[in-house]
Symmetry: C2
Subunit: 270 residues, 2 copies
Amino acid sequence: MASFIRQTYGQRIQNHQNPAAKMLLETMERKKTNLAVSVDVTNSKDFLSIIEAVGPFTHVDIIEDFEPSLIQEIQKLSRKHDFLIFEDRKFADIGNTVALQYSSGVHKIASWSHITNAHPVPGPSIISGLSSVGLPLGRGLLLLAEMSTKGALAAGSYTEEAVHMARAHRDFVIGFIAQRTMQGIGIEQGCLDTDDFIVLTPGVGLDAKGDSMGQQYRTPRQVIVESGCDVIIVGRGIYGKDYSQLGEIRAQAKRYREAGWEAYEDRQTA
Amino acid sequence: MASFIRQTYGQRIQNHQNPAAKMLLETMERKKTNLAVSVDVTNSKDFLSIIEAVGPFTHVDIIEDFEPSLIQEIQKLSRKHDFLIFEDRKFADIGNTVALQYSSGVHKIASWSHITNAHPVPGPSIISGLSSVGLPLGRGLLLLAEMSTKGALAAGSYTEEAVHMARAHRDFVIGFIAQRTMQGIGIEQGCLDTDDFIVLTPGVGLDAKGDSMGQQYRTPRQVIVESGCDVIIVGRGIYGKDYSQLGEIRAQAKRYREAGWEAYEDRQTA
């Protein structure tokens, strides 16, 4: 079996056709980082200063003072600091509605976000709807195959169905939000799994064990080495609650970046 | 077994503690309507003129020229035409994030939408997160227990888990988005189901059979009488593609309202 997990991010570029997937792997290889920073803050000043300090990954729909100019700022920072933008929108509606949500509204996500994600719960139509907007723009989609919260329903046959849906839409679906590699899932025993999906994993923490709202944390090593995921997603673990402490935020980002990359290097030789 | 399905909407008010649920049932009884109009258009002029012509139910996140003043307009119309606002946001993230999405951002949904909805896929934490924001404001939540699209994963044990989660949060969860009544689901055989959930059902059409993006349609009679749902959700079936034809839109809304109410009256005596 082609073990994508033992390949470097750079080697895996050739396994992908989707331009957002190629760009993501190229950037990870070039910058030696597999860290995505989840910037869940509600005003644009904090938002931009954290991005300036550390990097990508957003929830624009919680920004209170959102203005179209904010997007231009993010794009400028994306070029300056060489990162991809992943709007964690978690689309979850029927095809017709998600196509509108992705292209339109105040946020016009498709026009600036290299990667976005969707829940498979509505069935394959959610991928067709998003793909009709994103594919012509060179965008890529991650399906939420698993979630890190307590009591999540994305498990078992739900996860398998998500992987089936992804395999049927390889041009647009570049990977998963999941807690482990999806390699071999939904493949008949003895068959070769030739789909190299990129797995991004939330719920990663070096210190905390969880929050009061059901989030559960694992270390970069558990996620990358033991579970075969590719990118660690970290939010509050990096920027905490005081967004003015940019030195501390930078230091935490460095700490997570190093822990993530070390785990990845160990995986090559494990 | 207390058959909520044979009770009138008015009689069912006493089964509910949540103020949004009471308000919804009162309004349906008073106006003799079980129609929710899904206004999926991308500019605020069309949006307001369709609401002016027919009534509630929105996707504000697809409005291109959204301004906070739009909310004041909707609230004014809501009072003038005596309807409830249901923002069909389909929240689907972890507790901490949905709490921010519900309260913050450009749209500040909790401050004006009587009812919203969420996918149960992240587990019970999504309800705690939304409830921490919405309950103090007297808002109500619908869980998406089923979807009307082809290949939807919200079925079987997923649906059962959704109902379990709802039963454990009766103060805030007032009902479901589903294709049939959830009465008796997740209850041991022989036990009494005392939870009167309100079921709103999308995918209702008097003419069309489906769209090219996986949406499937059933008639008001199938939905209300045969499947025991309470509210029919209709979008494009009412306002079509030419939003300037307000006479036609009004006529279609009347047609659906009458078909929905007739089905409900037949159910009382069926």
